[in-house]
């Protein structure tokens, strides 16, 4: 029906718009900001969004399955802080890592269990578990806000690894993105996540193990958070637990939502995360170059996130007749 070649506006979805904005912003920044379009700065942009992007990958998988994981940042920071604390107090590396991995999996499984089997909304479960994880580790397991990486430990060495002058976290982000892409696109369970996110009841009725898969997603998200935390510690040589109270968590949701992963589930993929991460990375970098104070950056990010959610609400509107009761 589009014979005369008008652009098909209907096909212009959020991902496309955001991608266009990201390119425009990139072009504008390249033209107007000195030092933006240099190899070092471009690497810095990619590096700055790597950890955010990794966390957003985990979040994306959860959101596609119609959930959300607000405990991701708490798990990321606190698991690594505990790991480093264990190392600093002389626990052997293998044992310490086993403890931390077990703890992370336990929280992920608990999240998933409460969401899947106790039918508690994911938002509350993960809000509560995030608060608990932070409070428990901070008050019981570690002694100060920031925990340094022990001298000569592999985490420290990891931070120094470069390949073609590109830091290792970029490769980890790329690798993980590819893995998640393969998982979502080509594995049975990856496809099932879309079904479960689109219509959980129907998915369950056709025999998909919806509830065990939910548990799996939260466990996956927790493990991804641990990886992101290790990378953070690697590049900073310490982990600061105050990051839990920062806006990092909302940045993650921002990356996922702004890239076009609908919060109502069943839509989106790795490409959306990449687009969202690109936009946020360029934005943050540009703001830093212009020298906007951090507080104002938060304000701007919040405004953008609000805009993204409003657009999401308009593109995926909720209907009075079909909206789920108690779906908040």
């Amino acid at each position: 029906m589009n014979a005369i070649g008008w652009p098909n506006w209907r096909r212009l979805n959020q991902e496309g718009i955001v991608f266009a904005i990201a390119i425009l912003l990139f072009a504008a920044a390249a033209l107007s900001l000195p030092g933006f379009l240099t190899a070092d700065n471009l690497v810095a942009i990619v590096r700055s969004v790597s950890v955010l992007g990794i966390l957003a990958l985990g979040m994306a998988v959860v959101i596609i399955g119609r959930g959300i994981d607000l405990s991701a940042v708490a798990i990321m920071a606190m698991s690594v802080a505990w790991y480093l604390q264990l190392l600093n107090t002389g626990t052997s590396d293998g044992l310490a890592f086993a403890y931390v991995l077990a703890g992370v999996l336990a929280i992920g499984l608990l999240n998933g269990f409460l969401v899947a089997y106790a039918d508690v909304p994911a938002i509350f479960v993960t809000l509560a578990s995030g608060s608990f994880v932070f409070g428990y580790v901070r008050s019981q397991l570690i002694t100060q806000d920031a925990v340094p990486v022990p001298q000569g430990h592999w985490v420290e060495l990891l931070g120094g690894v470069r390949f073609l002058d590109i830091p290792v976290e970029v490769f980890v982000f790329a690798g993980l993105a590819f893995l998640v892409f393969l998982f979502l696109r080509y594995t049975k369970w990856g496809r099932f996540i879309y079904f479960a996110g689109d219509n959980p009841v129907a998915a369950r009725n056709i025999g998909i193990p919806v509830r065990p898969m939910l548990v799996l997603r939260y466990a996956l998200s927790a493990v991804v958070a641990l990886i992101a935390g290790l990378l953070t510690a690697a590049s900073l040589h310490s982990i600061n637990t105050r990051v839990v109270n920062s806006t990092l968590l909302y940045d993650i949701v921002l990356v996922a939502v702004i890239g076009g992963i609908g919060l109502s589930g069943g839509r989106g993929g790795v490409r959306n995360v990449l687009v969202g991460a690109a936009l946020i990375g360029i934005l943050l970098n540009a703001m830093t170059i212009i020298d906007i104070p951090l507080l104002y950056q938060n304000l701007i990010k919040a405004a953008i996130l609000l805009g993204a959610i409003i657009v999401d609400g308009i593109i995926n509107p909720r209907d009075e007749q079909t909206a789920q009761q108690g779906d908040i």
Binding site: D119, V120, I309
Partner: protein, 707 residues
Amino acid sequence: MTFRERLQAWRYNLVPDHLVGEILTKRWTDNAIPFLALVATLGVFGSIIPGFFKLTSLQESTRQLGEFSLVVIGMTVVMLGGGIDLSVGSIFALSCFSAVYVFFILEQSIWLALAAALATGLIFGAINGYLVGYLRLRAFLTTLVTFIFGRALFDILVSTYAADVQLSQASSDVLDFIGDGTFWGLSISVWLAVILAIVTHIALTRSRPGWHVLAVGGSRRSAHNAGIRVRRTVFMTYVFSGFCSSIGGFLIACRLSGAGPGTGLNLEIMALTAAVVGGVSLGGGRGSVVKGLMGAIIVLTMTNGLIRLGYGTGTNQMVLGILLAVAVTIDIRWLKNRHKVLNEVYVAPVYLKMGETQSAALGSGTPYELDNRLSAADHIGLGELEGPEDVILDRDDHLYCGTRHGEIVRFFAPDYVKSEVFAHIGGFPLGLAFDKQGNLISCVGAMGLYSVSPEREVKRLSAETSRSWTSIVDDARLRDPNDCDIAPDGRIYFTDSTKRYDAHDWALDSIENRATGRLLVYDPKDGSTKTLLDGYRYTNGVCMAHDGKSLFFAESWACRVHRYWLEGPKAGTAECVIRDMPGYPDNINRASDGNYWMAWLGMRTPSFDLSLRHPDMRKRMTRRLPQDEWLFPNINTGGVVKFNEKGGIVETLGDLSGSAHPMVTSMREHKGYLFVGGILNNRIGRYKISGADPNWTSPASYWGARP
């Protein structure tokens, strides 16, 4: 009786199992868990923190509690409307800053500062409300974002103006009083919280906007379809929340005379935890201001207590996280499973050993011997009627009966072919009687005692009796009014079969077999209803004796008929006149020969009699088997029994074919015919009684010849 059986009798007749179910039906059980948590929290922290209950300590902590409670009230209202407001902390902080800015930097009056704080809160709330209510965004994420936005704004403002505030010379007695003073021993913030709580409570429970909030929260879709302006209602809840938070912010501005980076920090998760711990349901519709306040006290006591006990950074978050997770889980599970639990425990059978009975089998030679005479009855309204429980005829020979559609149908004499709906009452009209003025009195199942005038005017006579002190279930309400009859002085005697089940659940009542049936009297002179007798197993038919000095009433599940004396030496007492019948008695009416007709709604079976001696088995049965497989009274065979004034059985009529009148719930003699009704039947039968007085009518028997 074996020892095992005696033990069972004791176990099931003395242990009041039924109270558990009755307590669970109460809405206030929702409050019990948070209340116990509140008592436990106060007890624990009161005992381990020295001086916790000292006046000065309480004044300081209640000041904070007042501010916090205000925020929680706002959160509660939003949650009742089905939303959530995570931006309360930001609104609180921004309002606090507005007040501080106007008072300390602009050096305006304290009232202007209050106005600024309120305006900030209302505007912020309106933004939330617009986004969530009108744009229908997801409440949680939207208010999360506005929370970050507000927080970022506040941080910028505080870092910009903090020094100016420090240097300001402004002071005010009013501000100091609001911040530090007390009024009748309580701080201003507590007074404000109490006043707002009372106003909000009244608004929620007794005003239209409040009901709209609860309706939208309870079922958004139904509220929308019922014409409630859902979006505006949701919008208003957020505005209200902003208003509450802004008052809290103003109070803290007065108390601290400034605003700092810590103002309102973590307030949203605390308020959310408080509301949920108090028992305000996520997703809306369930909860109250009182619950929110209980939660507020619990949460604040815990967090403050932990600080005073010297636990380090993070402990509060840990405890809040645990509290929130546990409370949300309990809330969700409780809501989901409450009715299941109720179904599980409500039926609490008792032990009863029925007496030996005489046989009713054909050819047994007993007076109860059921024959096949009723199968010869003509039918009236075959296929048109559903559930004529009782039938009655007026002085003009017209025939009336109730139907399960809540109507009273009239069939016209003489052939009873044409019919009309005489009156629509609703419920299920059961027992019928004509009073002296020709009003048709009816016991309407699930509704009460009603009167229909000859002009078809329906009037409610009674729907409740006095509440007894010891009953947990509300026994003032008439749950299953069954049959009525009228004394010569005009008082209406009627039965209410059970206090524990609705009329349609009569089978469950028979399985439980608990004696909760009552005989009541309605006095038309003053409109009062009194309970005369209580504690019978399903009181059913009532019939005034021919002399009007006593009445007969049937006790269905015990297969007995009692006589209750209105006059004479035994006035006010009941005696059993017929016991251990082979059938379950229903309505009783007068016969022309000075005897009485009694309907049998079903026949006793050895198996059900045996099950009555095994309450544990019946309990398991109702829990584990589908309803179709339950053992309950056999209602495939019934009959009509004639008995005399002394309780002797004269004769018994039956329908062994099982096709015309298997179950009989009522019969009425009129001019030599017997009109037969059945609650599950599709017709009224007309049976010619041999040898009956062809001129005798029931209205004439009660009220004399036509005046």
